[in-house]
Symmetry: C2
């Protein structure tokens, strides 16, 4: 049995599509999904400020789509491993309640005691961390598993999973 910590945004919660849609709508821009590949939205947008302001709205995090297959795979993972959700919520304090409520709605089978809101993920004591941001792997005590997201497609040097089916293959086979 391993202890696996799992990030939220872009791993179990689909944030980027909504973010791009809202940004284009509010800023009369027409950034396409393909322009975003390998980059962060704020790197290609008209202004970083306009991109980040959505994170100040707690409601923004409340109705995100669930990442495909994540619910089924995590439930199965729980039968063999210890599963924690570890999200850098401290970066967006306004998001605490929305993120918690979202988890309760879509992942009711994850107990409260297995949810962690942190900032620096080096504080997480786990064997694996599934995350789309490699900066969280730097001082992490276990092994980082890079979950593919639009912004990280060119990054090399990490074990990578493309989707939740691949997470299942990695930890359940």
């Amino acid at each position: 049995m391993a202890r696996i910590a799992i990030d939220m945004d872009e791993v179990v919660a689909e944030l980027a599509l909504k973010h791009l849609e809202y940004y284009n709508r509010d800023n009369e821009d027409q950034l396409s999904w393909s322009e975003l590949q390998g980059k962060k939205l704020w790197e290609v947008a008209k202004s970083k400020e306009k991109v980040l302001e959505y994170f100040l709205d707690p409601g923004f995090f409340r109705d995100l789509q669930v990442m495909q297959d994540s619910q089924e795979v995590i439930q199965e993972l729980q039968r063999h491993h210890e599963i924690f959700i570890a999200t850098a919520a401290m970066e967006v304090p306004a998001s605490f309640s929305a993120k918690y409520e979202w988890l309760k709605e879509h992942f009711p089978f994850i107990p409260d005691k297995n949810i962690v809101f942190c900032g620096d993920k080096s504080i997480i004591h786990a064997d694996y961390l599934i995350d789309d941001n490699i900066r969280h792997f730097e001082n992490f005590c276990g092994e980082g598993i890079l979950f593919t997201a639009f912004h990280n497609i060119h990054i090399e040097g990490y074990k990578r999973v493309q989707n939740w089916k691949e997470v299942a293959e990695l930890f359940l086979s």
Copy 2:
């Protein structure tokens, strides 16, 4: 340099005195501080429910007194060690914002990235955990330091600090 994780309630935030005062006021009871020694409030109160209902009110956590000397000592500790606040906030999801705002007010020198809201503290990767509840030490990877509180005075078998001056002696001398 060590990494030291520090609990909030009864360690940097004085919760018990307010809790007893509110409980007595609202339930026409006259429990005294001396009756509480070695016990939890819900063990001696008329009903556990009445004791726990305060935790459902977010405001309850917002105006707690700061534990004596904790601010000065933690600021000094930061010069020599890596300091994290680790609170089992998931036990009281309504408390997220109040606890965060309280920390920002009284401990503005602790960066967001060093704040952790968790449930099971075995997820904390640190060398030391200063806490008033020994249950958090059970599966903790480092050493637990028991911070004296009314309810734990009879517990033995752990390194104990009576107050923040003793924390300073332990980690700064």
